[in-house]
């Protein structure tokens, strides 16, 4: 579904990604794990067109997307929940969700999706008229994921959904991620520092070290890999 062919991304003169290649198949959950500053977020930003790669190509369903602008990429069905959630602080919860459906015009279906979201996260319905900036961290993460879902993505890019959340909330968020993947057949590309958690929900995983992919395998194999255990699982 998504294919990165040896992409390199730069911030000014600093190279953040070196020849990254990876594949995501339809319907699977894949995860990219790595330390702080390894280039995980940059990878997602390259896919989303915010930090386009200088060399290499990105294919979505066989078509190149690395030269498209960010809004066109969203239009193709690739949505990102960025690190730090990026809720629009002065828009209400309902307006934030509305922004997720910005490119859609099928009003009836949007209404239905909104009901689905409110079923999934009843707290958002309760707070729908409050500014997004007033929500707690966990609620904001729910809102950020919901906002992305409102776009009906085929591929959902999640950047550090567990960051700053209490363990119980994290568990709830991950249950929802699995549920979205199962029920809607939404392909999920998950970036996480919490490698243990990520590898448990993912089908396959990639390990990123200072801008290079160093390992790639089934998630269960990576979980039992000694190097991965030492470096990322703290075992």
């Amino acid at each position: 579904m998504l294919e990165l062919n040896s992409i390199s991304t730069f911030y000014g003169n600093i190279q953040a990604l070196h020849d990254i290649s990876l594949r995501v198949e339809e319907g699977e959950i894949i995860t990219l794990i790595g330390a702080n500053g390894a280039g995980k977020s940059t990878t997602l930003m390259s896919i989303s067109g915010i930090a386009p790669p200088r060399t290499g190509e990105i294919l979505f369903k066989g078509k190149p997307i690395h030269e498209l602008s960010a809004n066109k990429i969203v239009g193709l069905g690739i949505c990102q929940v960025p690190e730090g959630r990026h809720i629009f602080p002065d828009l209400t919860v309902a307006e934030n969700l509305d922004m997720g459906a910005f490119l859609r015009s099928d009003k009836k279906q949007i209404e239905k999706d909104l009901t689905y979201i409110y079923d999934l996260f009843p707290i958002l319905q309760k707070r729908r008229n409050q500014p997004g900036g007033n929500l707690s961290g966990g609620e904001q993460q729910m809102l950020a994921i919901s906002r992305a879902l409102m776009a009906r993505p085929q591929l959902l890019l999640l950047d550090e959904p567990s960051m700053g959340l209490a363990p119980l909330v994290t568990k709830q968020i991950f249950d929802i991620i699995k549920k979205i993947n199962r029920e809607h057949n939404t392909t999920i590309f998950l970036v996480e520092q919490n490698a243990n958690l990520a590898l448990k929900v993912a089908d396959r995983g990639y390990v990123l070290e200072t801008g290079r992919i160093t390992l790639h395998d089934k998630a269960s194999t990576l979980l039992s890999n000694e190097d991965v255990q030492k470096a990322y699982l703290g075992i």
């Binding site: 989303s48 969203v74 239009g75 629009f88 906002r147």
Partner: protein, 300 residues
């Protein structure tokens, strides 16, 4: 007391014009964090367009209401085209440059437009036709509020309501608010940020042109330099109210207009600028973010 009311209305009229210009400053600042110093020149170009269009139309013998409406539309559209073009050639290429670069580019644009009108038109003051007639029903109040004051107040109020509706309830307005709050996230939900920025310049420029037309018809003369002073005053009003805040710009404009009117009326017209800018200094000392501005905490 009559004198007080007269000054009050004169202050409201000034405030309305400042507000029409200040909105352009504050909206552009809210979206791209740039003080668009060429904005005053857009207002001046709006007034010149109005002069040319209304003169041509009256030569062809159009009735007055048609002249007013067509002139209003023509100057708003023409100034909007200028605003759009200025953004495309002077600011968009500098989108990712350090903050100082677009600021210098803006000052350059301002000088360019001023001198362009100076050369293409004339350095002298030109008489502006009295587009706004004296209404009969205003006759009893003519000593305190003129017909053109009334037209300015009503037009400004209508424009403000339209703008509020646009920003609060339309898809474009929501996209503008989202872009102002978090540009990167706006891109990630599929908003074409470049379009939003263009629309912001178009709206701001059209508002300034309406202001230019109204004040020119009120005062009765224009020249190439009117944009500079009006621009500085409107910018002051926007900062006073809290730059980036739309209600703030309107509030700041009315406070500034009233301050100037009362200073002129009770002290001396020589001191109107002293009062206006002293007010700015005081506000900046005690409320650096402006009256309705949010104090932003820069996180490290």
């Amino acid at each position: 007391m009559d004198y007080f009311i007269e000054l009050f209305f004169s202050g409201l009229t000034r405030g309305s014009i400042y507000a029409l210009i200040a909105l352009g400053y504050t909206m552009v600042y809210g979206i791209i964090g740039l003080i668009n110093f060429a904005h005053g020149e857009i207002y001046m170009i709006g007034a010149f367009t109005a002069l040319i269009v209304s003169t041509v139309l009256s030569i062809f013998g159009f009735p007055l209401p048609a002249i007013i409406i067509l002139t209003l539309l023509a100057s708003a559209i023409w100034a909007a085209a200028y605003g759009y073009t200025v953004e495309k050639i002077a600011y968009q290429p500098l989108r990712n440059a350090p903050r100082l670069s677009p600021l210098i580019s803006a000052i350059g644009m301002s000088m360019f437009l001023q001198n362009y009108v100076l050369l293409a038109q004339t350095p002298d003051f030109l008489p502006f036709p009295a587009l706004i007639p004296d209404f009969d029903f205003m006759e009893p109040y003519a000593a305190t509020i003129g017909s053109s004051d009334l037209v300015i107040l009503v037009t400004t109020a209508v424009v403000m309501l339209l703008l509020t509706w646009l920003i609060k309830f339309t898809r474009t307005g929501k996209a503008m608010r989202a872009t102002a709050q978090d540009r990167k996230m706006a891109m990630l939900v599929g908003i074409n940020v470049d379009n939003v920025i263009s629309i912001t310049f178009i709206i701001g420029s059209a508002l300034a042109a309406i202001g230019g037309l109204l004040i020119a018809a009120h005062i009765g003369q224009i020249n190439f330099y009117i944009g500079f002073i009006a621009g500085i005053k409107a910018f002051t009003a926007a900062v006073l109210g809290g730059i980036g805040s739309i209600p703030g710009a309107v509030l700041g404009s009315f406070i500034l207009g009233l301050t100037e009117a009362f200073a002129t009326g009770y002290v001396s017209s020589d001191y109107e600028d002293v009062f206006a800018f002293s007010l700015l200094v005081l506000i900046l000392i005690f409320r650096p973010a402006g009256l309705l501005g949010k104090a932003t905490i820069e996180k490290v």
